[in-house]
Amino acid sequence: MPHSLGHFFESMANFVLYIQADCFASPVLDEVQRFASAAIALGHQIDHIFFYQQAVQVICPDLDLPSDEIDLVGRFCEFASAANIPLLYCATAAEKRGFTKARPGFTLAGLAEFGMRLSSADKLVQF
């Protein structure tokens, strides 16, 4: 992936990653993490990662995973924290799905904040 990203974006770009796919028991978060790692390795910046639609379930603090399952969300949060990437989620989408408390590492935002932050972005990548 680093090679192909370098080919498409020759100069440094400011990325926003937009996630709407269901993150539960799917490799989406791993894909996002690999994309973000590759982009950073090539000198690009990840402005923030925004969770919308069904993806907001990622904030649920009450997950109780069986011991033989990988905690993708935990791993993802550690990565984002180390890389200093804000993890934002749509408050309205979360509340409508019953998620009123967020796991540490996720920050409540609105669609308007997402819109304002897009003004300084070069690339929006959807997962």
């Binding site: 919308y52 669609l111 897009l118 003004s119």
Partner: protein, 116 residues
């Protein structure tokens, strides 16, 4: 200001996708982006007047606010309109009917595209 295209693909009856796509379009327009809403596939039926009310809150009435929010263009896929045997005068809003090359041009010229 960025040129944003939000592609609607779901009907109003397919979960929350249509409503959340519309909310996103309104929020981007309210934050000064140049927004085009493109309805493809079953999503073109969102623009029809409802003959029976939705069981959930009818978000489609908010389409009347698109102009107020300065949503630049409402476009529909020509093929989808044909598939559903619809004509533009049946829809609640004035729309641009786009064939595949015109849709490709729209996407080529956009800064950001979100498909919902």
């Amino acid at each position: 200001m960025r040129r944003c295209v939000i592609i609607q693909q779901q009907s109003a009856w397919s979960g929350s996708a249509a409503r959340e796509a519309q909310d996103l379009a309104l929020a981007l327009a309210a934050t000064d982006h140049q927004v085009t809403l493109l309805y493809r596939g079953a999503a073109v039926t969102q623009l029809l007047p409802l003959s029976t009310p939705l069981v959930v809150k009818d978000f489609t009435v908010t389409q009347k606010l698109f102009a107020l929010y300065d949503i630049e263009t409402v476009a529909v896929c020509q093929q989808a309109m044909a598939d559903f045997k619809l004509s533009a005068d049946q829809l609640r809003l004035a729309v641009n009917m786009l064939d595949e090359p015109a849709q490709r041009k729209l996407l080529d010229e956009a800064d950001f595209v979100v498909v919902i």
